[in-house]
């Protein structure tokens, strides 16, 4: 029994390492994607969004406001416009992302103690650009406004503290946890890396099976694996698992360091957490592999499902806003649980007991896909 298992494992590892196509997917691709995928987000945050200004007041105070906007790291004043229609057109053509309008009489309103208004028109075609531009403008205007108001109160002989309180009796102190600078790489990369593990594994297993089938059809000599379907499944699982343990070390030891991502747990906890993840992925892969007649079909299906898995795993769109049928599909994907628990473990510093629900669910998937793989290998293949 052990000898058969050992023989099969070696045969599996040989078919991985001797097939350059499989080796590219289950080895090189992981290295490659780990460095390419984070690339667009390498700078983490978007700064210096370009805007234009319409200054109809042309006063000391309006010029001060423009200087303050330009000094904000989120924004950069790149031009001046004469009228709003023109400025909106320039935003439509993508030259600027926003326009700040300072109306005539702005300084006088402020000096006379009236409520003064400036207007911002911000492009919401791209949400991140909008958020940066609007946040930058709101912050700048608030800073200016607070300064004026505190000076006013002080002129009436009140203390600065009291002046602050009078300005706003209730304040929100919002502390951002785990990714305080709202960095995009810190957000996306940890999840995508788990997804890369899943998808390369699925393609790899699909290709091994596809190639084997093509070679048998072509009458080529293939090392036949021995034993019952269950023994074959277990031996392939062990072979793939040992290979991917190396990838886990690579990802959490090397890739995280290179991209400077925070990691808030130990490698042994990650191993423990990802064990049922990898097992369920390997078994799912073996079940699906029986349906791929050729390796081409395997590649296409997996590229497509990568997009789907990212979309429904809850980290691009919250679960609470998904229809139930999509939520149900996502619960069957190991990546959904691997990502949600994995991120809490590695990025948020959750303890193992706080991710146990996900962990147990992945063991459930492991059993489900073991049965499914056994049925597929036993019956589909025979047909």
């Amino acid at each position: 029994m052990i000898r058969i298992l050992f023989f099969n494992i070696m045969a599996e590892l040989r078919s991985i390492f001797r097939d350059p196509g499989v080796l590219i997917i289950m080895g090189a691709a992981i290295v490659f994607y780990s460095f390419v995928y984070p690339l667009p987000y390498a700078r983490e945050v978007l700064n210096q969004v370009s805007l234009t200004v319409i200054d109809q007041d042309n006063s000391a105070l309006s010029r001060q406001l423009v200087r303050m906007v330009d000094a904000s790291e989120m924004l950069r004043v790149e031009g001046r416009s004469q009228d709003l229609g023109r400025a909106r057109q320039e935003i439509g053509s993508g030259r600027y992302s926003a326009v700040l309008v300072i109306p005539k009489g702005f300084e006088i309103d402020v000096l006379q103690g009236h409520q003064a208004y400036v207007s911002a028109y911000v492009d919401a075609t791209y949400f991140l650009i909008y958020r940066q531009a609007m946040t930058g403008l709101v912050k700048t205007v608030r800073t200016m406004s607070a300064g004026i108001q505190i000076r006013r109160f002080q002129a009436q002989g009140w203390l600065a503290d009291k002046a602050m309180v009078d300005r706003s009796p209730l304040n929100l102190i919002n502390r951002l946890l785990f990714n305080p600078s709202m960095g995009y790489a810190t957000y996306i990369v940890p999840g995508v890396l788990i997804l890369i593990l899943q998808q390369t594994m699925l393609i790899g297993i699909g290709m091994i099976s596809g190639t084997r089938r093509e070679q048998i059809t072509a009458g080529k000599n293939v090392t036949e694996r021995r034993g019952s379907p269950m023994v074959k499944i277990i031996s392939r699982t062990i072979a793939c698992l040992s290979l991917y343990f190396i990838h886990i070390i690579f990802i959490y030891g090397v890739v995280y360091r290179i991209w400077d991502l925070p990691i808030r747990t130990g490698i042994s906890t990650i191993f423990l957490y990802l064990l049922p993840f990898l097992l369920s992925v390997i078994l799912l892969g073996q079940a699906l592999a029986e349906f791929f007649k050729t390796r081409e079909t395997a590649i296409i299906m997996i590229v497509w499902s990568s997009m789907i898995a990212v979309l429904i795993s809850g980290f691009s769109w919250p679960f609470e806003s998904m229809p139930h049928w999509i939520r149900a599909v996502s619960m069957l994907l190991p990546s959904t649980w691997g990502i949600s628990g994995g991120l809490r473990l590695t990025q948020m510093g959750a303890s193992f007991s706080q991710v146990r629900g996900e962990w147990m669910w992945m063991w459930g998937l492991t059993i489900l896909y073991l049965v499914l793989a056994w049925i597929c290998v036993r019956f589909v293949h025979r047909r």
Binding site: A124, T125, N174, L176, Y184, I302, L311, W317, M348
Partner: protein
């Protein structure tokens, strides 16, 4: 010469290709089933249009009428739902680490007293921004809710102090920002993400199908019969084969536009004709990329792997979620060699931005250039088709 004229030439290649498609179910899968499933799934996923009822926990240590007002104000926002009333901060923290809530709001002991006595009160929130979308919209929702409660208190206290109401308002904020949101004021994710995801799925299928259709001729060593069917002309061979996919994907592209414009309800403020032209050009551009990949990689598996990289990672690089201007130089460069980047740019201009067709001329030209590159490679494929070295690679 074997066979007569009717069995050779452009039309013969078309017929041969159609029988290939009928013989292998995977073509129907990639050309019809999976694209339609993707569109439907995107539609379903974003049907809420904006995230709603994201769970947060509240820790009310004050138990006052003001703390209840604040909780009501938070719960009243469409984005946030107060799903848990935790007894202390550590319980709320545990809920967050278990993934049950996105944020926790702490109303400290003595809050009401602090406000009434004029010392000013503070509400403390902890928002999880590991996942950006819920993190950022919850932050702004909480800000707005607290600010409105605060403004209410401020206004009332001034009225009590006998200031005239206009002066009281004037006291609130010397300089105010009037916010105007251009083009997508509801922040509808259907217009923004869903509409862009459909063309992203679409390009995966065009490229994969083109590579599969041409590459399997090399893999199965059937390029000679392919060429013979075309009467020995590489032009007829390639264009005849791809014509089938061009027509089928153009029709699929039109279906996609109907789904996006009528189904998703994305406003068409530009020109429909431009959109249709661009969609047809997108099909041509990706068929051309297919020619390039088959030309460069004789092994079908390799060509498909590169195609899957090129099309599968495209969405990260198109600059929609994270803009091109924030990418490092290499990211920008890669972004600009994806036909999808230019298509989506044009798409947004012609739909929600309502640009004139001439404003999108650059994007049109770039899609045409991609097509020209593909066409210019067709004659070079001839030697590959004749050379048995390129055949039978895995």
């Amino acid at each position: 010469m074997s066979g007569n004229d009717r069995q050779q030439g452009f039309l013969a290649v078309v017929l041969r290709e159609m029988s290939q498609i009928r013989a292998h179910s995977r073509y129907a899968l990639v050309m019809i089933v999976l694209p339609l499933v993707s569109f439907a799934l995107t539609w379903g996923l974003f049907s809420n249009q904006y995230p709603q009822d994201l769970p947060v926990a509240v820790v009310d240590l004050d138990h006052s009428s003001i703390s209840r007002t604040i909780i009501k104000a938070i719960d009243a926002t469409s984005v946030v739902e107060v799903s848990f009333q935790a007894s202390d901060p550590s319980q709320a923290r545990d809920l967050m680490l278990r993934g049950r809530i996105y944020a926790m709001v702490i109303l400290p002991h003595g809050l009401e007293e602090d406000i009434l006595s004029g010392r000013g009160g503070e509400v403390i929130a902890y928002t999880n921004t590991q996942v950006l979308l819920p993190g950022s919209i919850i932050s702004s929702s909480l800000n707005a809710a607290i600010a409105s409660v605060s403004a209410g208190i401020n206004f009332q206290s001034r009225l009590r102090h006998g200031e005239m109401s206009e002066a009281a308002i004037g006291h609130l904020e010397p300089v105010n920002l009037d916010r105007h949101v251009l083009f997508n004021p509801q922040f509808n994710y259907m217009y923004f993400l869903a509409a862009a995801l459909c063309p992203t799925f679409f390009q995966i299928f065009i490229l994969m199908t083109a590579v599969m259709a041409m590459g399997s001729e090399f893999k199965n060593s059937t390029t000679n019969t392919w060429l013979e069917t075309a009467g020995g002309s590489v032009w007829k061979a390639v264009t005849g084969k791809l014509a089938v996919y061009f027509i089928s994907f153009s029709l699929l592209g039109l279906t996609m536009l109907v789904i996006i414009l009528n189904g998703f309800g994305v406003p068409l403020r530009g020109s429909l004709f431009s959109l249709i032209t661009a969609t047809v050009l997108l099909v041509l551009a990706y068929l051309s990329c297919g020619i390039l990949l088959v030309f460069l990689f004789p092994s079908l598996r390799m060509a498909l792997s590169v195609a899957s990289f090129f099309s599968g990672t495209a969405f990260a690089f198109v600059g929609l979620t994270f803009p091109q201007s924030g990418m490092p130089a290499l990211g920008k460069a890669w972004s600009s060699i994806l036909p999808l980047t230019h298509y989506l740019h044009l798409f947004l201009e012609q739909t929600i931005r309502g640009a004139e067709p001439y404003e999108s001329i650059n994007d049109f030209l770039i899609l045409v250039i991609f097509t020209m590159v593909g066409i210019s490679l067709i004659p070079l494929l001839h030697s590959h088709m004749k050379d048995s070295w390129y055949w039978g690679k895995p």
